[in-house]
Each structure stands twice: as structure tokens, then as C-alpha cells.
Amino acid sequence: MLMFSPVKPENRILTQINPLLKIVTCITILSVALLLHKIEALIILVVPLLVLLLISVRIKVQVFGYAAIALLLFIIISTWLRDFQTSVISTLRLLCVILPTPLLAGTTSPSDLVRALQASHLPNFIVLSLMLIWRFLPIIQQEAQRIIEANWLRGVEIARQPKQWFSGLFIPLIFRIVAYADDVTVGLETRGYDPQAPRSNSQPLRWRLGDTIFVVSAAVLVAVVGSLEWII
């Protein structure tokens, strides 16, 4: 089972947005977050990201629990090392850096990403590499889950037996990763993929109303955050 997966197609909000636009917005948000020092400005940036994540990507409650515990630990350690205010700022910044990843991954299909990258006229080998990575990450997550399940079926509760992690999880996972990398290269060639060869595009990306709304909303968000930080 995937830890996060897209919600049903009819509920999509971000899935129809141009992937390149999403990538550029994520990079902008990340850059702005690194410049911010006011807690309220950072909160304004984090809240929409969190809301979008909740409505666009289905995440297991368990994963939310783990993330909350990790953040709490982060706050405690950074408060102990510095002070509470710095700790909160660092945590909010961290959220701005982390949240766009599941948002992007959970709302962008590999084929949409390839089309977007093709449209941007990036070299084909980069398109291929990014496509493989995009497909690779959820597959590895899936493989890890299947291996954990296979351990359960053998009566091994792997999460409670750190001694078993190496032989029961890491080794089989490494085997699967290496095998996958080999197999997928062969598989791609057998399906006719060649990074150097011309490729048709049956669904070229077009600018849609949703893209305009997305750009305007992102610009408004950055403007509000900027004014909170530097003007007010």
C-alpha cells in the first residue's frame, strides 16, 4: 500500500495544473521560505500547503502521526539548542521545504510530467531520468511495503525487531532496487523508448483556466507573505 496516493480523479484539484507550473511554484515557495523570519508570514505560507495536501492527497493517519512526532522532536531539540521562537521558525521553514514534495508527487502522474518536460524542450536524457525517478520512488515505497508484509506473513513484526532490519528489509529491498533498475531499462527499450528518438505527443499541454487561477493564487499568496514580512 502506498503511503500517499492521489484522491479519486473526480476530486482532483491540483492534478490538472500544468506540472511545470507546479514545479516552478514549489521552487518559489521554497526560496521565499528561506528568506522569511516572521512566524506569521511563515504560517500564512504553511497553511495553504497543508490544506492543499489534505484535500488533494490521501495520506494515512499513521503517516500523519509519525510526521507529527518527528516535528515535535524537532521542536524540542531545536528549543533545547537555541530558543523556542527560533525553533518554531525552523519548524515552519522545514514544513515549507517538505510539504511541496508529497503535493507534487501525489498530484502529478508520470505521463503528465513527461509531457511537461517534453514541452519545455529539456534534453531527452534528462526527461528519461526524471521519468524513471518519478516512477521509481512510489515503486520502492510499494516494494518496501510488500517486503514488510512478507515479514509479517513469516511471523516477524519487523518494526519491533531492529535486528531483523538488515536481513529482513534492507537486503531484499536493495535486491529489488537493483533488479528494478535493470529490468526497467530493458522494459523501456522493449516498449520502444529511446531518449534520442523523436516522440509524438497525443495530448500536448495547453494553458487552461485552472492554470491562470493557480498562478494568480500563488502570486497573491507570495505577495501577502512578502508584505507581512517586509512591509507591515
Partner: protein
């Protein structure tokens, strides 16, 4: 369709795998004419898939190893051609379909392949619609691929590969996961394509099904490709090596289910499984056979209904707790093999060396005992995964399509081991599209 020009010609082809001193296939001479369907049979690990890999260019360029001899396509030596170059003329279906699927939805998978071949967009939609209709996948058009069953994925990939219409098709166990309907569609389609001049080399263990459409048959024996002159006969299953033990009286109920349901599947039939019983879950691809096995093992929790194992309610128990009584051999054995040797895989905690060795012999893996599990063929891995599960002596054993990729001899050994398990009071619940004589394991069929 007769023709003077041979499509494929193999001359003195020999291939030796990396790290091996003896060849896997030796001195193979073979030709394929337009419109021919040729069957390649042989034991698990005998070199059938290796031959297809050599023709498709996967071996040695991706696998390593040493290739000698010539491979000609329409009279031209293609030894220097890449896999992609060859795939313009020879499409190949690999054993593990997961490695040839790249997108997230059924229809985008068709589009992906067609775009790779630079097919004009106007034709792509038409070709996609035709292929979806031809392979009965219209209803699944917008499905996410992970929602498909193994059989549906296999059907999808075959449809994708055949959409372009290359002159030669290399199919490695294309019927492995297909239900009766899928098999019928594919065999009819291959016959039609052959009549139009396309040629097929098909590697299969389900000989009874392929024999009726193939023009010639070959078999790998001791690295040599032998012309069989007449279609091979279906295997006789099984031949017990030892006299059967007296059957265990069917008295104790091991498993009981009541009104189970999950997701969008219709209500699963209620099961009542006694000690010594063998249940075959039967149904078309995508009807929920694997889902039902996962529910019984605890990997998935039912939306409604109740599962009782040995009189205890299992709904609130974890997979680890259920695993004490229930063993599950998964469809893909790669996830279930952890040890660094075949013997160690079986010889787990509380399993003696003698028991492990005996199981290995019974499963025809004795000579591979010191090899790494990942070095085995898919069929051998499935037998090993079965051995590892049975070694833990579960009360109930769930088997998901593990008879795939087994040659008649290996299948017979596997069935003998399973027969012993039920004779000793265990219960089997399994899925398989491979027809088994009902008397082999005294199978009770449950239709889904």
C-alpha cells in the same frame, strides 16, 4: 502463409551466462517463417527465456554473458542492433509484466508505447480504442494500473505490444495469469495475426492450450533445442513417488468465513474449510481471488463480515498473529525470499537441517541448496517460497498462482508436497488458472 524469406534465422547460437562455465543454450539452429506460430517448451530454467532474450537483444547487452553464433532478421545480421532497434521488428513480452508497464492508467499505457514509436496523434486514439475493444479492456479504460489483477495487467501489456503490429512476436509465458476467457481471446488473436503474416515464438508450460494453434514445436533438453515434429502432449499430473498416507478424516473446521466483503467486490462466498481439504478459488481475472486470500491472511481487513480460524475471530488480530496458523505464498516470490542461501531460506528458526534438506529434495531444489535465492528462475523461486512457508508447518496454506512457470515435472513435485501437507491435516486454499485434474488434491472448487 508460405514465403521464401525467413524472418528469423539462428545459426549455431550458443549463450553462456556470466559466471558460468557451461552454456545455457548450445548450438541452436532455428528458423521462423512469416505466418508461423512456433512453441518452445522445456523444463524450468532450461533456457527458453534465455533464447528469447538473445533474439530480442537483452542477452548479452543487459545481462552480460557470452553469445556466439548468428541471429539474422530477414537475412540481415542483427547482432549489433540494440533492444530498441530490434523491438521495431520483434516485440517481446517478458515474464514479469510489471517491468514493462510505465504509466499509471490503462489507456495512457497504450498511448505511451504508441508515442514512443512516433505514431501520429490522430492514429493513436484510433489504435488505442481498437486495442481496448479487441482485448476486452474497455471497462477498465480509465482504471489505475495498480487496480488491475495480474491477469488483467498481462492482457493489457499484450494488447499494448500487439497494437503496433511488428512482424515477429516473442511471447514468454503469455498465458500464465490469464483466465479461460483471456486465453481464448489471445489464442484466437494470435491465429488471426498469423494468418495476416505475423509470426510468433511462444514459450509456454500450458502445452494443451498452445498445441492446437502452433505449427511447429521445439523443446529444450540439456541445453539443446530439439524439434519435436509433433505437438507435445499435455503433462500427466502427478505421479506420487511414495504410496499415499491414509487420508485424514475431515472432522475439524479450520477456517470459516461469513459474509465477507471488501471494496467494490461483490460479497465473497462463505467458506468452511476442514482439515485435509483443498479449495480452489476460481473466477475470471479481476474477480477478487487475490483479495480474498489477502483478507484470509490478515493483510487486508474486510469491510464487512467475519473470519474465524480454529474457532477464533481473526478480524482484530494482526497479520503476525494470524501467520502462526496461516501460511501465504505470494504471487511474486521475490518479496518473500530473505536468506542468503536456498537452504537457509527453508532452515528457519525451529526447522532442522534434515527437514530442510528433505523439503529441498522434494521440491527439486537440492542441487541449488547453496545458491543465493535471487539466482533462481522465477519458477524455482516459487517452489522455494512454498518450501519456506511449509517448513513453518502452518495449519492453513494460501497459494496465489504459484503454479505459474512450473514445468510438468516440477509441478508434479509441487503437487506431491502439497498432497502430503493435506494428508497430514493441513488445508489448502489456492488460486490457479492452470487446469489441474480435480482428483490430484481432491480439490473443491469455489466460484467467485
Amino acid at each position: 502463409m508460405p514465403s521464401d524469406q525467413q524472418l528469423i534465422e539462428l545459426i549455431d547460437l550458443t549463450f553462456t551466462h556470466q559466471g558460468k562455465s557451461t552454456p545455457t543454450i548450445d548450438d541452436v539452429n532455428f528458423s521462423l517463417e512469416p505466418g508461423e506460430i512456433v512453441l518452445i517448451a522445456g523444463a524450468t530454467g532450461s533456457g527458453k527465456s534465455t533464447l528469447l532474450s538473445c533474439i530480442a537483444g537483452i542477452a548479452p547487452s543487459h545481462t552480460g554473458g557470452k553469445l556466439q553464433g548468428q541471429i539474422l532478421y530477414q537475412g540481415k545480421d542483427i547482432s549489433e542492433w540494440s533492444v530498441r532497434q530490434r523491438s521495431q521488428h520483434l516485440c517481446i513480452l517478458l515474464q514479469n509484466v510489471e517491468t514493462q508497464i510505465f504509466t499509471e492508467r490503462v489507456w495512457t499505457e497504450f498511448v505511451f508505447g504508441l508515442e514512443n514509436w512516433n505514431i501520429p496523434p490522430t492514429q493513436i486514439h484510433q489504435l488505442t480504442d481498437t486495442a481496448l475493444e479487441e482485448f476486452g479492456l474497455e471497462a477498465q479504460r480509465n482504471w489505475l494500473i495498480h487496480q488491475l489483477s495480474a491477469g488483467q495487467k498481462q492482457r493489457l501489456l499484450i494488447a499494448c505490444l500487439l497494437a503496433i503490429g511488428q512482424p515477429v512476436m516473442l511471447l514468454d509465458e503469455p498465458l500464465a495469469y490469464l483466465d479461460a476467457k483471456g486465453v481464448k481471446i489471445l489464442l484466437q488473436l494470435l491465429k488471426t495475426r498469423a494468418q495476416r503474416g505475423q509470426s510468433v515464438i511462444i514459450v509456454e508450460h500450458r502445452l494443451d492450450l498452445v498445441a492446437e494453434i502452433c505449427d511447429r514445436s521445439y523443446c529444450f533438453q540439456n541445453t539443446k533445442l530439439i524439434n519435436l515434429h509433433k505437438p507435445p502432449t499435455p503433462p500427466c499430473l502427478p505421479t506420487p513417488p511414495c504410496p499415499p498416507c491414509p487420508p485424514t478424516p475431515l472432522t475439524s473446521t479450520l477456517l470459516c468465513t461469513h459474509k465477507l466483503s471488501w471494496g467494490g467486490y461483490p460479497l465473497f462466498p462463505d467458506l468452511q474449510v476442514q482439515a485435509g481439504e483443498t479449495i480452489l478459488l476460481k473466477g475470471d481475472n479481476g474477480c477478487g481471488k487475490t483479495t480474498l486470500l489477502k483478507l484470509l491472511s490478515g493483510l487486508m481487513k474486510p469491510t464487512t463480515g467475519k473470519i474465524e480460524i480454529l474457532g477464533r475471530d481473526m478480524n482484530k488480530r494482526s497479520v503476525v498473529q494470524i501467520a502462526k496458523d496461516v501460511g501465504f505464498v505470494l504471487q511474486n516470490p521475490n518479496h518473500q525470499l530473505f536468506a542468503d542461501s536456498v537452504r537457509a531460506e527453508i532452515q528457519q528458526l525451529r526447522v532442522s537441517k534434515a527437514v530442510a534438506d528433505s523439503l529441498l529434495e522434494k521440491l527439486n531444489l537440492g542441487d541449488r541448496a547453496n545458491d543465493h535465492p535471487q539466482a533462481l528462475s522465477q519458477g524455482q523461486k516459487r517452489r522455494l517460497a512454498l518450501g519456506a512457508v511449509l517448513a513453518r508447518q502452518p495449519k492453513i496454506c494460501l497459494l496465489d498462482e504459484i503454479m505459474v512457470g512450473q514445468d510438468p515435472h516440477s509441478l508434479s513435485l509441487m503437487l506431491n508436497v502439497l498432497d502430503n501437507f493435506t494428508q497430514e491435516g493441513g488445508a489448502l486454499i489456492f488460486t490457479s488458472h492452470i487446469p489441474l485434474p480435480a482428483e490430484v488434491l481432491k480439490i473443491r472448487i469455489v466460484e467467485l
